[in-house]
Symmetry: C2
DNA sequence: CTGAAGTGCTAAAAGGATTTAGCATGGAGA
DNA sequence: TCTCCATGCTAAATCCTTTTAGCACTTCAG
């Protein structure tokens, strides 16, 4: 593989100066160059397969066409990696690349990841969290910063899922299908703390608003802060003992998984005897049988939007991304 | 935030030349500089919070301390993102950063992702696949390339899980605990095609070798190429109808998930009535109850090893990474 | 006493792109 | 005829770091 062609090589071949070549290739607005020259430049560049040297360009421009992505554990866990896909998609569309770094949520590691990105002269920075929480990010003046699925106390621009609407729609979906005796598993005061979640409150509020609109309340609610299958299993058992329901809303898919297990043990068939709706759309949701109807956390779109905001600059304080309903087989319409 | 200090700024403050500063900070071996000068340089650098400009350095050196990672869908799916964690860990230890790009397994997209990385002057490239398959990667002379969880027809250096040993150990684990009547679900001739998998053959061979060592054979095997819960469910039903077993080896965790469902329906309790062992260690494995004993695909370590090989240069043709046994609750020792 | 070797440091070039300032040329207007 | 302006292009500076070549001085060996 021959050495990479430089601007000077192109200029020589085209019989013009590097200045001219640069101007043509960058299509500078106010440079009145002849169409003939432009044509020769383009031909020469193509012939030599010219690629601008990013280091040289970065040195001169102070821009690197690079965006840094720092996350608590988005990259490295399985839940939220769709966020990266969104970031990468947009970056590629806009001819940027993405530098990735992990850091827990320990402030010092965040700071050092950030420093790394700034050292590398990233043109912008996206912070992404797996769960929508509040984080402290050092404020930086130089480059645009956007938080994806997170909020900061300092009011940095952020992208969050529209949990209120999702909560509303989840409940509405059941109500619309005639359900009136509905239980909820996973209510927790503790989760209203922004350190743990900045969106759960909206999820609750959306659910409650939908029920209120129909003039009803949950027939039973199970408190629970740790949203794992255990909670769903025990919670569903509690529901079955206390009252009769036609539907259960689970705080997330893992809780719903537990509900499935409890239902099966009790001989209840989903969705014939019990409808289930939940939140998140983890991959688990499509493995269950019947597959789970759930409100998706839009990691992909949050990634896309965050990247767009960073690249466009001047992002608004808060951007909400819709959580689409994944309609599958766990809900039955009552006649 | 004041403008970033340059080498010249440091030199001025230290009362020395940029040359000297560069030599001190890079600790060049054969430059006999006074300890006094070195001390002054370090003090000045610290005071100005000097960070070398990576673009300038990259321009001069032709190195970027950057490694490109191209994958089919490792980043963007949930299964294998631990590989990235491994890559990032090692990169950080060695003061490198990772550029990430996705591309399906379509040759043109791979080529363009590769071109992107070379454009950006990556010092090395790692290709990572979610499932261990064969891919065609254009051979490049300039930079080291390592395949992680993949093999190429052209014999590029690769890192693969040690499936033979894993197969052997999985079977051995059951045999050691007194199991003799064992079924296997997920045998498939078709999967021996390297386009679909380059490791399944070894997995089978390891299983067979362990049984052979004990002088027995599987009491029943279920063929199946698509390793989803359906196969496990139907396969287990088939096993139960045909014969009596004390243990089932599932081709992967999703198949095992189906086995769990079939067992539960039939009133068999795991591990009391039926032991289950499988492969992969997806996160599903720890959600099942009882949790699944499974041979882990070592994505993290494959990532680490691949990055180390790229950074060290001159990687061997094939490196095997052990697949650790995740010992959980799905196996019972027969008295 | 002279030449060689060693010491501690620096000037200047190189790396490849972008950008500012400005050089010829030709035509239009006075 | 002379000035002015537009046109089409280029020389040279700039971004920041690394590296080569070498300067000026001292010490040592012969």
């Amino acid at each position: 593989m021959a050495k990479r062609a430089t601007l000077t090589d192109v200029a020589r071949l085209a019989g013009l100066s590097p200045t001219t070549v640069s101007m043509v290739l960058n299509e500078r607005p106010n440079s009145r160059l002849s169409e003939d020259a432009a044509e020769r430049v383009r031909a020469a560049a193509a012939k030599l397969n010219y690629r601008p040297n990013p280091a040289a360009r970065g040195l001169r421009l102070g821009k690197t066409r690079t965006v840094g992505f720092i996350s608590d554990e988005v990259t490295i866990t399985r839940y939220a990696s769709a966020m990266i896909r969104g970031l990468l998609e947009v970056a590629e569309e806009r001819d940027h690349t993405v530098l990735i770094s992990e850091s827990g949520r320990r402030a010092d590691r965040i700071a050092s990841a950030l420093e790394l990105m700034l050292d590398r002269q990233a043109d912008g920075i996206v912070f992404g969290l797996m769960g929508a929480k509040q984080i402290d990010v050092p404020v930086i003046a130089d480059v645009p910063v956007v938080l994806s699925n997170a909020r900061s106390a300092s009011g940095l621009p952020c992208v969050l899922p529209d949990e209120f609407r999702a909560g509303f729609e989840a409940a509405h979906y059941l109500l619309e299908r005639g359900h009136r005796r509905i239980a909820f598993i996973g209510r927790s005061e503790a989760l209203l703390d922004p350190v743990l979640s900045v969106t759960i409150g909206a999820r609750y509020a959306g659910l409650d608003a939908a029920l209120a609109e129909s003039g009803i309340e949950f027939v039973h609610q199970v408190d629970g802060r740790f949203w794992e299958p255990d909670l769903g299993y025990a919670g569903a058992q509690e529901v079955f003992q206390r009252t009769e329901v036609t539907a259960i809303i689970a705080a997330n898919d893992r809780v719903a998984f537990g509900v499935y297990q409890a239902a099966q043990e009790r001989g209840l068939r989903i969705p014939d005897d019990l409808s289930v709706v939940s939140f998140d759309d983890e991959y688990l949701a499509s493995y269950l049988r019947p597959q789970l109807t759930t409100m998706q956390i839009p990691y992909l779109d949050m990634g896309r939007v965050a990247m767009e905001l960073v690249l466009d600059g001047d992002p608004p304080t808060e951007t909400l991304v819709p959580m689409p309903l994944q309609e599958r087989g766990s809900v039955r319409a009552l006649s």
